[in-house]
């Protein structure tokens, strides 16, 4: 296994299964390690360079850094400053790289994090690059599955909703292809999973594309729900037609296995009925806490505070 210190986190494909498992193992112990040594990242500074609005991911990274004793510099709206003056991403990264020890970047263009990592001397973490990837979300999703189901291997996992533009499902399906799982992709025709992701994943694990949630609801162990955005449809009536078919209600939960879990990368709008929140299957808010642990684990590893 390559050492983690100094590494970038751009794509889930940058990590082997062994390395992913190691990051998740470290997430199990990171709170304990942080309470023993709350200053393990003292003197380290993380830049949060978000070119797209975000609350959850930004706060999660910021909290993770602070809980390990590090500091953060939030440049969440660079649009207002240098970018508005016409500075390109390359120059922005070169400048910020001089001030900090690690950069977390979210950018609307695909490949942006890869470019940033090539330019920066310090490690770069991809906090979401266009519709392409969101690797730390995929890691925290794997961690949630492992914590809540006790394992990842042997599970049947369904993704529901917008699989075309949802970057979290792209990263997660590639990450899951390291494990022995069966994947169901449930979406309207227009929002089918990207071909290259299906091609990559289906070479490694069984993948089935399904139109109707009812076909698989009874057999899945993990239901991963994503939001269908209205703006993806040229015709609002098309949106109204598909919207309801991918909305999770108590009726769905009743038909699910008792020990199945429901996940969601959040923000949720109305694709999971609020009544589902009270069921034991609903894990989407716990997922947030697991995200904190995984990001703490990653930061501690990359900045060399733990091995």
């Amino acid at each position: 296994m390559r050492p983690f210190k100094g590494r970038d986190v751009i794509s889930v494909l940058d990590f082997t299964r062994e390395e992913i498992d190691y990051i998740l193992d470290k997430a199990d112990s990171i709170m304990g390690l942080a309470s023993e040594n709350p200053d393990m990242l003292k003197g380290k500074v993380m830049a949060i360079l978000f070119f797209e609005p975000s609350t959850r991911t930004r706060v999660s990274f910021e909290t993770a850094m602070k809980r390990l004793g590090g500091a953060t510099v939030d440049m969440s709206e660079p649009r207002r400053t240098s970018i508005q003056k016409g500075e390109n991403l390359t120059d922005t990264i070169r400048v910020v790289d001089n001030y900090v020890d690690v950069i977390v970047i979210r950018h609307p263009l695909e490949g942006s994090a890869r470019l940033a990592a090539e330019v920066a001397r310090n490690p770069v973490i991809n906090g979401g690059s266009g519709a392409e990837e969101h690797p730390t979300q995929a890691l925290l999703d794997l961690y949630t599955i492992r914590k809540e189901k006790g394992r990842i291997d042997g599970l049947k996992i369904a993704f529901v909703g917008d699989l075309r533009y949802g970057r979290t499902v792209h990263s997660l399906s590639m990450a899951l292809s390291n494990y022995d799982v069966k994947l169901y992709l449930v979406s309207p025709e227009l929002l089918r999973m990207r071909r290259e992701v299906v091609e990559y994943t289906s070479k490694r694990i069984p993948v089935e594309e399904v139109d109707d949630l009812d076909e698989i609801i009874e057999e899945v162990d993990v239901l991963y729900v994503t939001r269908i955005q209205k703006e993806r449809f040229a015709d609002v009536s098309e949106y109204m037609k598909v919207k309801g078919s991918y909305r999770i209600t108590l009726d769905h939960v009743k038909r699910m296995k008792e020990d199945a879990i429901i996940m969601h990368p959040l923000p949720r709008v109305d694709e999971i009925d609020y009544s589902v929140d009270r069921t034991p299957q609903a894990k989407y808010f716990k997922q947030v806490y697991y995200g904190l642990l995984v990001r703490m684990s990653l930061l501690a590893l990359i900045l060399g505070a733990v091995e």
Binding site: S11, N88, L89, T90, L109, G111, L115, A131, E132, E196
Partner: protein, 154 residues
Amino acid sequence: MAERELRVSKIRDGTVIDHITAGYALAVLRIIGLTGREGHVISVIMNVPSKKLGKKDIVKVENRELKEEEVHKIALIAPRATINIVRNYEVVEKKRVKLPEIIRNVIRCANPSCITNSGEPVQPLFLVESMEPLRLRCHYCNRVMTRDDVIKQF
């Protein structure tokens, strides 16, 4: 054959690129960076009958032997092209085009949302996953390009 010889005389020294996909001779010149302003005599023959391809294009560049790395890029748009190096009217070397493993700065990524299409000072870079059918993976956005995506650019 006689008819073809009238159309295209033999060259004394230089490079003949044969079996170019019909209609793509000008694109081939563009891909190897020949503008005509270099001063070489260049013959471009398009849509001639071919046993192998039905129709094909041919490009002849006189007094210039194309280098290995120049010609292989041709495989992006004309995978069946052959390269003949001619010296004193004789073909001294004949080779088929073969794509390198990495294509740098020849084509653009077909994904409009790719960072390489946004004016950043970065050269597009593709990893060749397969030549037939053509599959190029963008090093930056990971999007896979096909031959159709490449041809549209020429």
